[in-house]
Symmetry: C2
Subunit: 311 residues, 2 copies
């Protein structure tokens, strides 16, 4: 994972993604006591940063792989991302979704032409179904977070943020499977100027926090969080990168997530999903650490079921 | 109202307002069958275009008027706008609000340091209270929409939109008191290239539509609309400008307003208030008229009570 790989990745996917804006809010800065720069991947195609990784992974398929399509399992955003990237690049996408996936995300996959397979909402069921499809169709399996090309793609949001604001002292992202924070940490390492990378994670699914401290990949016994994108656990590729390049992980309560989400909606007038609010919640939870610092926050996505809001 | 006045106004207020972004949405363009350019005044300071007019009006106060402050009556956005503009410019703001005003807007006025006076939710009660305050304090009354300096200020959003996209064939805004559309129509007349100006208005408060066709200012018997910013009627200054420079007014149902609002929230990931959605609803209602046209839409604001959403 050298610097050139990140540069090549950004160049490769740039024609297929939006360079999303960086927004600020005077009122949220006041509340946080810090200078916050929000990289708005909720404005990315299909509404989340995951289009970056999916696009990169598909562009890296071989000529032999491409006609056989791709398959993944995802509770939502990666499913939509792979569907849209595949549609744009003329590749078939088979998408395994748990029956618990938000309706708006299932609809999104349909809109983008992905072929949907619903399964039980367990990791085992998802993996088994994806495995079956890969064997039957010859489609290439793409992991939503642990794939190296996916990780590189996800890191490009942080590259852009650091191009716009090279002097960030912190970069904060949510942690689910770890693809976003691993890519972002690589970007901060190669493109930042002593930029510390911090993960935000719900107490309710604090597997990454526990993994970070125990030194091995931990899992969650329950996944009772509103941050539906953060229920997955770290992988064999994301975890070592996180161990090496991430400085800390801050856990937040469900109440803090909802409050941060409401703050962003009310003050910034943008729609962010609960998983994205976790990063701001982490900053608000530790005001002393971030006091007067320049902090980049990756707003990971904006796909929310409007019929089912927490306020 | 010559072109130079608009140019001077924009120059005067530019240091105090955001140059808001223009956003587009591939999916909404598909649905509309047109090319839409959204001027995002929901990202304006205090969350609405009204900061423009309020700032201009205060900057035009005489040295004698300034120390005595300003007074207005407003159901919401102009109240916040005048409070914030006054606070920034060191002027006292007395704000008369109807008891029916959304809580989020009352809170906004408090945040921005406006002095609040609650009255009955009728135009008569609002006017009487503002009149009393003006007499007692010597504050200069500023009408939320009918003041000429306010109208000029509101027109600057359309100036910027036309600077960014000079070849717009249509410009669509909501109509309440008429300040936004009157200012926008002046801007389109002087800065557009045969740009037609269309108003969007709820059927439930279609006073402007009826005024436009009868040739005299009509009022509403009821104001039963979700578009809380559009309940006011045209004035002696806004109406003649609308008669001269606005081409048509399209009425929309409450269902169409909510559907357009939901579409913007889901597809563009931005928070817009119901009054703003009226403009998109008007475009979606008449697909033949706008087919394949370049259409500018002024998103007037994003101040929504999140505890009281229509979906």
């Amino acid at each position: 994972m050298d610097k050139q790989k990140l540069i090549d990745t950004h160049k490769r996917i740039a024609p297929y993604i939006h360079r999303t804006p960086v927004m600020t809010s005077r009122l949220i800065n006041q509340e946080a006591g810090a200078e916050l720069y929000f990289k708005c991947e909720n404005f990315q195609g299909m509404g989340a940063y995951k289009l970056r990784g999916a696009t990169n992974a598909i562009l890296q398929l071989s000529d032999a792989q491409r006609p056989k399509g791709v398959v993944t399992h995802s509770s939502g955003n990666f499913a939509q991302a792979l569907s849209l990237a595949a549609q744009r690049l003329g590749v078939d996408a088979h998408i395994v979704m748990p029956s618990s996936a938000p309706k708006v995300k299932v609809e999104g996959v349909k809109t983008y032409g992905g072929k949907i397979y619903i399964c039980d909402p367990t990791l085992e069921a998802r993996e088994a179904e994806a495995d079956r499809i890969a064997k039957e169709t010859g489609a290439t399996f793409m992991h939503p977070s642990n794939d190296l090309e996916v990780i590189l793609g996800q890191g490009t949001a942080a590259i852009e943020l650091l191009q716009d604001h090279p002097d960030l002292e912190f970069l904060v992202t949510p942690i689910g499977g770890g693809g976003l924070i691993a890519g972002s940490a690589l970007a901060a390492h190669y493109f930042g100027n002593n930029c510390q990378v911090i993960g935000g994670e719900p107490f309710e699914v604090d597997d990454a926090y526990r993994s970070f401290h125990s030194g091995k990949i931990e899992s969650n016994e329950t996944t009772n969080t509103i941050a539906d994108g953060l229920k997955t656990i770290l992988g064999s590729n994301t975890f070592p990168i996180i161990q090496k390049y991430v400085q800390d992980i801050i856990r937040v309560t469900e109440e803090e997530i909802v409050a941060a989400m409401k703050l962003i909606w009310e003050r910034m007038k943008i729609i962010v999903e609960p998983s994205s609010a976790v990063a701001l919640a982490a900053v608000l939870r530790e005001p002393l650490r971030f006091r007067k610092k320049k902090v980049g926050i990756v707003i990971s996505g904006g796909n929310v079921d409007l019929g089912n809001l927490p306020f």
